[in-house]
């Protein structure tokens, strides 16, 4: 027997397992106050899952407000923060939506399904705005490459992303793969999706129009993922991790592909008034959010939901996180056409509810009322916590432990060895072992993909209009100083899209942190959010949405604070994109920006010395903006044949990647006024390498001089250099009179690392 509203009134003091469902006593009392009685078990299920950290952002809300309060003025934003995903105007009547979300804990428990359903979830988010998904990318973080558990989780996560994403027909155009001991018991799987639509096709998650019908379509509802949100995402792992396996959802990418096509079909035919994806919290979330955003009332006949497992209780149906489901609000007149479109794609659909003006969300189960709540109280008026925060006791000591005394390479031979060591370091080595498992070609619009600075896809084949996306974060910088670290992540992502020639427009983020109940972690979070909000304001690009993932820790040890920042940019003609490979002999290599002795948090300090301490590189966002404008102008006016941002590993890694990617050598010389080691390996921000044809040199350098951007000519592309340098027949990179390295040597070191461990 279902627990009905009548029961709740008749038996007001029945004991309820609110604590087991993750609710605190005062939260439970608040539910009772809202309803004026005890909740039914179905209501309790709904509130518990919707008021979980994952769904309600109760610990982060007070900080995330800054993204709205500090938002720069922009005309580009068509739909702002708060919807499923923000929507950005890219011109010509086109709009783009993008968002990144975490699926960290499920991916630790069951790597393949956890990662796969992470992709599926973000794709449905994008669809629910009315957009066709056009690309995905995946920022990933693992423990040390050679750790035993990395070998368990990494292949499964990569196979899951590939297995699901490849089957949907979405090109995977980049992402990140970072290894650090702090992620050993808590890998990060963040999934980003980009979608495109015409302005008039933008849809919102709202149930408007009394009498309109609420349709649940897609996969049937089963017992998978019940409580996944509240149990998995809101608790730290203890030793009993695998016992939670039943809570992880199982994905069916074929069903999702049909769901995409059916959804685009019904949206394209104008059959939909409002639309919402089903992800965390399933039907509870979809119905309460649709009702809360709409005319205020909805009635649901829960027994109409098509089930995979007929033994499910109403509470379980409300909480189930079965994948590949969507909810649409449709007028009665268009119902038949909607159902026909679904049938065409072999997608099951059923009317489960109706919009009304009652101001209540009511749910019946075989004729009995089991839910009667104000929808806003479930969806939007969850608890808000001002968690205590405290600057970590160890922060000062960490910042005082500078890398200044670490042993540095002093001569050409040692610099050469350092270059070959770093190019093969797990964090800098080729990620082809991973990215070759993803389809980057499908849809035929991929202009740039990993290992380019940014992924770029064409949106309009007629005009060449396209978008570029990059996502970045150095968690070591964020640990040294979360405010600066978040701004450095933003700066790098902004720089990456700019290097490709695209104009930055908007920001999304995935904020991965430890437990919000730890005041020191909460301080890291608050600082990172403040840094990111201030940075976005200064760069003039708004945050359009994002995701917070807390409780990423093993025992009491939190992960590196990891605010992954994604930047979306637009390019009016993809034909003018700037790749990272340089062109033919004689083209000139320029270093833009200033290099300082900055090694704290660098890949060199990490990989060579296992050191983390000091203050991260200085941030100068005005300089980042100038660098961006110069690179975009250079691309637009045909002054650049290549560009590549300088970040992890420094200038030497940037030059090596350009040489390896183009297969052509270069002669480089370093400015005399700076120590060669610092010049080659420091990770100062605000820098890039650009390649200029001789015919454009004067125009380009005059532009840099006029705008006040330091530009040093540091090399020339030279395919004939090998013979002179003692490597006949080989392509080489020659660094002043310090050392020469062949591209084959670099490539061998670069490509050997991941296969050596992962194929073993």
């Amino acid at each position: 027997m279902a627990d009905t509203v009548d029961n709740a009134i008749a038996d007001p003091e029945a004991t309820q397992p609110f604590a087991e469902l993750g609710l605190k006593p005062d939260e439970y009392q608040r539910i009772r106050d809202i309803l004026g009685r005890r909740p039914t078990s179905s209501e309790l299920a709904m509130y518990s899952v919707m008021w979980s950290e994952h769904c309600s952002y109760k610990s982060s809300k007070v900080h995330l407000r800054q993204f709205g309060e500090k938002a720069p003025k922009t005309d580009a934003l068509l739909v702002g923060i708060g919807e499923n995903a923000g929507v950005v105007d890219i011109g010509d009547g086109w709009a783009v939506t993008f968002k990144v979300e975490s699926h960290n804990h499920p991916s630790y428990v069951e790597p393949y399904q956890g990662a796969a359903t992470g992709v599926g979830g973000i794709v449905r988010d994008i669809m629910s705005m009315g957009a066709r998904p056009i690309a995905v990318m995946d920022p990933l973080r693992f423990g040390p490459l050679d750790a035993a558990d990395t070998k368990r989780v990494l292949p499964g996560i990569v196979a899951g992303i590939g297995g699901y994403g490849n089957c949907l027909g979405l090109p995977n155009i980049g992402g990140e793969v970072v290894f650090d001991p702090s992620y050993a018991g808590n890998p990060l799987v963040n999934a980003l999706c980009v979608g495109a639509m015409r302005h008039e096709d933008i849809h919102l998650a709202s149930a408007k129009g009394v009498g309109n019908l609420v349709i649940l379509y897609g996969a049937r509802t089963g017992g998978d993922g019940i409580g996944g949100v509240s149990v998995l995402a809101s608790e730290t792992f203890s030793d009993g991790g695998p016992t939670k396996r039943p809570s992880v959802q199982v994905g069916d990418p074929f069903m999702e592909k049909l769901l995409i096509e059916a959804t685009l079909d019904v949206l394209g035919a104008g059959l939909v008034e409002g639309i919402q994806d089903l992800g965390g919290a399933g039907i509870s979330c979809a119905t309460s959010e649709l009702a809360s955003n709409g005319d205020g009332g909805m009635h649901v006949w829960l027994d109409r939901v098509l089930l995979r497992d007929r033994s499910l209780s109403p509470e379980e149906i409300l909480m189930s996180e079965s994948q590949e489901r969507m909810c649409a609000v449709v007028t009665p007149a268009k119902l038949e056409e909607f159902l026909a479109k679904c049938a065409k794609w072999d997608v099951e659909a059923v009317v489960i509810g109706e919009v009304n003006d009652s101001g209540r969300l009511t749910v019946d189960w075989h004729g009995e009322r089991i839910v009667d709540v104000p929808p806003r109280s479930v969806a939007h008026d969850g608890p808000v916590y001002q968690r205590p925060l405290h600057r970590p006791s160890w922060q000062d000591a960490l910042q005082a432990d500078t890398p200044d005394d670490l042993l540095r390479p002093v001569d050409g031979e040692q610099l050469r060895a350092t270059a070959l060591n770093l190019i093969g370091a797990p964090n800098l080595a080729s990620k082809a072992w991973i990215t070759d498992q993803y389809d980057r070609y499908v849809q035929g619009n991929t202009i740039l993909a990993q290992p380019e600075d940014a992924g770029m896809v064409r949106v309009d084949e007629q005009t060449g209009l396209g978008v570029a996306v990059s996502c970045d974060c150095n968690g070591r910088f964020a640990k040294l100083d979360p405010y600066t670290g978040a701004q450095l992540a933003l700066a790098e992502s902004y720089r990456n899209v700019s290097a490709s020639g695209a104009i930055p427009l908007a920001v999304t983020n995935c904020l991965n942190f430890g437990s919000p109940e730890d005041p020191e972690v909460m301080w890291q979070f608050a600082e990172a959010v403040r840094g990111l909000a201030d940075g976005c304001l200064e760069l003039g690009i708004p945050v359009t949405g994002g995701n917070v993932s807390f409780y990423n820790q093993t025992g009491t040890t939190a992960i590196l604070p990891t605010p992954v920042v994604g930047v979306l940019a637009v390019i009016d003609d993809v034909d003018r994109r700037t790749p990272i490979s340089w062109g033919p002999d004689g083209e000139l290599i320029y270093l833009l920006g200033d290099t300082r002795d900055e090694f704290a948090g660098s890949e060199w300090a990490h990989h060579v010395h296992g050191h983390l301490g000091g203050m991260p590189p200085r941030v100068d966002l005005a300089r980042e903006r100038l660098l961006s404008e110069i690179m975009i102008a250079g691309s637009r006016d045909g002054m650049l044949t290549a560009a590549h941002d300088i970040s992890d590993g420094g200038l030497m890694i940037t030059l090596s990647e350009m040489a390896m990617h183009s297969g052509i050598g270069a002669r480089c010389w370093l400015p005399d006024d700076i120590d060669p080691f610092v010049q080659l390996f420091a990770e100062s921000a605000g820098r890039a390498v650009v390649v200029v044809p001789r015919s454009e040199e004067l125009r380009f350098t005059e532009m840099c001089a006029a705008r006040g951007l330091p530009a040093h000519r540091i090399g020339v592309v030279d395919s004939e250099l090998g013979a002179d340098a003692g490597y006949p027949g080989q392509q080489v990179l020659q660094i002043s009179d310090l050392f020469t390295v062949t591209i084959d040597e670099l490539r061998a070191a670069h490509t050997a690392t991941l296969p050596a461990i992962l194929n073993a």
Binding site: G162, C167, F254, D436, I447, E461
Partner: protein, 225 residues
């Protein structure tokens, strides 16, 4: 009037848009064909594009082979109509017994996406007549189950009759026997190819323009016929 080339969409097909674009770039008229309709809409040739039709459930191509559209495709292929199966389309052609052999899980057990070098070894088919014999090309390869297998007698027969149309060069990416990337039927009108020519038709998006020749070849064959 330019030849009409049908491109079939099954549930889970992914590269139908790309195949249609390639036909258009080559100068043909792409015609969308639906898996559920036993109707070829008077097309002159048919492409079964890549993807994961029916989610690769049961066996790649095993369910699609029974789709209503396949009945007229099999009949037309028997009558000499040019048919190209790319990747999942190749798998469907094998399941339909229009081509011999089977495509099994890659030897590495991983899905693999790479720019692949091939050598064209038969230039007399409807889909390869625009190449020079022995010409090496680079087009994308992306598959999880592209490992071509057949018994020795079948392989020997394919070799003896010159029915291996393309072979992997440098790297055998999936473990295919005798480095086979594509084969044809005895008549030379039905071709199955594991790599993806439709992704190599534009400088901006592909590693080369080599893929376009497959599509211009069939237009030559049809106009000449």
């Amino acid at each position: 009037m330019s030849p009409r080339i049908g491109v079939v969409t099954f549930p889970g097909t992914l590269d139908d848009g790309d195949a249609a674009r390639a036909v258009r770039f080559a100068g043909g008229e792409p015609v969308a064909l639906w898996h559920g309709d036993a109707d070829l809409k008077s097309v002159d040739a048919v492409i079964l594009p890549g993807g994961f039709s029916y989610g690769d459930y049961l066996r790649c191509g095993a369910i699609s082979r029974f789709a209503p559209v396949m009945t007229p495709v099999i009949t037309a292929a028997g009558a000499g109509m040019p048919v190209l199966g790319i990747c999942n389309g190749f798998q469907i052609l094998c399941e339909s017994h229009l081509l011999p052999g089977a495509l099994t899980r890659n030897q590495s057990m991983h899905f693999i996406c790479r720019d692949q070098r091939l050598r064209i070894e038969n230039t007399s088919t409807a889909w390869t007549n625009g190449f020079a014999h022995g010409q090496e090309i680079v087009i994308p390869l992306k598959n999880g189950e592209g490992n071509f297998n057949a018994d020795t007698a079948t392989l020997d027969e394919l070799e003896a009759e010159g029915r291996v149309i393309a072979r992997y060069v440098d790297v055998n990416p999936n473990g295919s026997q005798r480095d086979i990337a594509g084969i044809t039927n005895a008549r030379g009108n039905v071709v199955g190819l594991m790599p993806h020519p439709e992704h190599a038709i534009e400088d901006l998006t592909g590693p080369s323009l080599d893929g376009l020749v497959f599509f211009s070849s069939v237009l030559n064959a049809l106009v000449g016929a």
